[in-house]
């Protein structure tokens, strides 16, 4: 498969903290990649670098061969690299449906339309379908602030998903979701992502989730990618187990 996303020697420091050091990876189209590593290892920084939220000190980011280093998040988003957040970023005073409708309008390039209504029957239909696939139908007409934590997380992912990404980056998609629902959520999510062929990178602390859903795992430590491979091989490796989960 073709390389869709590539980083070359990404380096970024915050004061004395090295959040990324010479990170060079190639992500092929359709891959499902799990990003693991201890807290502060640079996983979220990696997502921030790719989406333009943080600029690298050195290095380049290529998307389908095009250099996107230094572009602002909104431009990168429009190109097809979309993300969800560890702390859900949603519009809490708007209803859940309105959240989705705004994402759909943005995708269709109607974000700056000031004349036609946001609520169009066709858009509402699509939004409701999306909400149904994320199990959020019952909350559609309630303010997003009223969602339980797991629901906020799902809405955050649904907003990203509504943009029809080429590459979807998710920062801890299952944190805050109850253990019982974790696999249900991931099953639905991964099924949809696989069907639509979306390349997926997700940061995850739950190794069971990583083991089950990632085809490839990148292990981060001190801002570096210290291991890269399929989960079966990697988790059998003692050094990786020590770095990631502190197992001996």
């Amino acid at each position: 498969m073709a390389v869709v996303l590539e980083t070359r020697g990404l380096t970024r420091t915050f004061g004395r903290v090295v959040a990324a050091e010479d990170v060079s990876v190639q992500i092929r189209s359709g891959e499902r990649v799990g990003l693991v590593g201890p807290n502060g290892a640079g996983k979220t920084t990696f997502l921030n670098l790719i989406t333009g939220y943080v600029r690298p000190d050195h290095g380049r980011i290529l998307f389908s061969g095009k250099d996107i280093t230094g572009l602002p998040p909104r431009v990168i988003t429009r190109m097809g690299i979309v993300r969800s957040f560890q702390i859900p970023q949603i519009y809490s005073t708007l209803s859940v449906l309105e959240n989705m409708l705004l994402a759909l309008a943005a995708r269709e390039g109607r974000g700056f339309d000031f004349w036609n209504p946001l609520r169009r029957s066709r858009a509402i239909e699509e939004a409701m379908e999306l909400l149904a696939s994320f199990g959020l139908t019952e909350y559609a007409y309630r303010p997003a602030a009223e969602l339980p934590e797991g629901g906020r997380k799902l809405l955050d992912i649904a907003l990203a998903f509504a943009l029809r990404p080429i590459v979807l980056l998710m920062d801890e998609p299952t944190s805050g979701v109850s253990t019982k629902d974790k696999f249900v959520v991931m099953d639905t999510l991964m099924e949809v992502l696989q069907r639509t062929g979306v390349t997926t990178l997700f940061v995850e602390h739950d190794m069971d989730v990583v083991y089950r859903y990632a085809e490839r795992v990148l292990v981060f430590q001190n801002g570096r990618v210290v291991a890269d491979g399929d989960p079966q091989t990697l988790f059998a490796d003692v050094t990786v187990r020590r770095a990631v989960i502190g197992w001996e």
Binding site: R74, F85, I90, L94, E98, R110, D113, P117, R119, Y141
Partner: protein, 322 residues
């Protein structure tokens, strides 16, 4: 919900009728309230984005002085042309100051708007030969398509014209708030990060909103200049801007009608308070603001939901139209 759709038309009919029914002085107050209501509507619109402007006097004065200059130096008498010039002045200033303002939030935004309005105030005050300084400028009664209305009809003509302009902008803002851009304005207040990560530019959302607010407030200034017939630098003074914020809170932001209701109420309160308590009327306004903040944080408009609920046990359920 269908029956609610004719309500604006009934309201329009009543307001047009009031033009004939009301005595001259209260019709004049209502005209002013409508003109100033346009500025308040702008303040309320910015509040949707989580921004409080303490400098709407900038556009208000710009619109008024655009009319003043056009009359004094250009011989313009036509009301439509004068209003268009007011709109243009508002648009121009918003386009310029907006470039800077779209980058600021909270207290910095508020103080910057105040700063811009005070700069204009200073210019209007000092450029005596052009602006007339503290004496201000006289505005002659306008002509409508070449006809200067006879004095006995001038008041009602002015009222109907102002009402029509207010109606146009009210509808425009209503459409705006229902549109994707209008929702984006509220989305900016809720979460700027997600707006950018939907691929939308936060500063563009705010800039476009600011342009609309500038045009509206400029028109408000032009209309009030036409109805009062005299303009002074105080229009740009920060207390004028503060009044607009006061009225926005008084009316509430629950509806596009709220700023006009607040504005009308304010004009009448001020007139009566000034008449019966000439030395303490500002204290009265203070108490009213205190009461609003403590007991009615949604402004007067919140009565439209709380009264039916208390009295009849009604609840307005919000549901999309199928």
């Amino acid at each position: 919900m269908k029956s609610l759709r004719i309500l604006p038309w009934i309201l329009a009919g009543v307001l047009i009728g009031l033009g004939w029914l009301l005595p001259g002085w209260s019709r004049f107050l209502l005209t002013l309230a409508l003109a100033r209501g346009l500025v308040v509507l702008g303040v309320a619109l910015l509040m949707q984005a989580g921004l409080v402007s303490f400098g709407q006097g900038l556009f208000f004065a710009a619109g008024a002085y655009a009319v003043g200059f056009a009359m004094k130096y250009g011989g313009v008498r036509d009301a439509f042309l004068a209003t268009a010039l007011g709109a243009l002045a508002g648009l121009g200033i918003a386009a310029l100051t907006g470039l800077l303002l779209a980058r600021y939030r909270g207290i910095f935004f508020a103080m910057l708007t105040l700063a811009f309005s005070m700069i204009l105030y200073g210019i209007l005050l000092k450029a005596y030969t052009i602006t007339g300084g503290t004496d201000g400028l006289r505005i002659a009664p306008p002509a409508f398509l070449g006809h200067v209305l006879p004095e006995e009809h001038a008041g009602i003509g002015q009222y109907l014209y102002t009402l029509a302009c207010a109606g146009v902008f009210l509808y425009l803002v209503f459409r705006y708030l229902e549109s994707p851009l209008g929702y984006a304005v509220r989305a900016v207040r809720d979460n700027e990060v997600r707006v950018e990560y939907l691929g939308l530019s936060v500063s563009r959302v705010l800039y476009l909103t600011y342009l609309l607010v500038g045009v509206m407030s400029g028109v408000g200034g032009a209309l009030s200049a036409l109805s009062i017939g005299h303009i002074v630098p105080e229009l740009a003074y920060w207390t004028t801007s503060g009044e607009f914020v006061f009225v926005a809170l008084l009316g509430g932001t629950g509806s596009v009608f709220a700023p006009f209701i607040g504005s009308a109420l304010f004009e009448f309160i001020r007139t009566y308070a000034y008449k019966y308590a000439p030395y303490t009327w500002q204290m009265l306004l203070g108490f009213i603001m205190l009461a609003i903040v403590l007991f009615m944080p949604g402004g007067i408009w919140s009565l439209s939901t709380s009264i039916p609920r208390r009295v009849f046990g009604w609840r307005w359920f919000w549901k999309p139209e199928a």
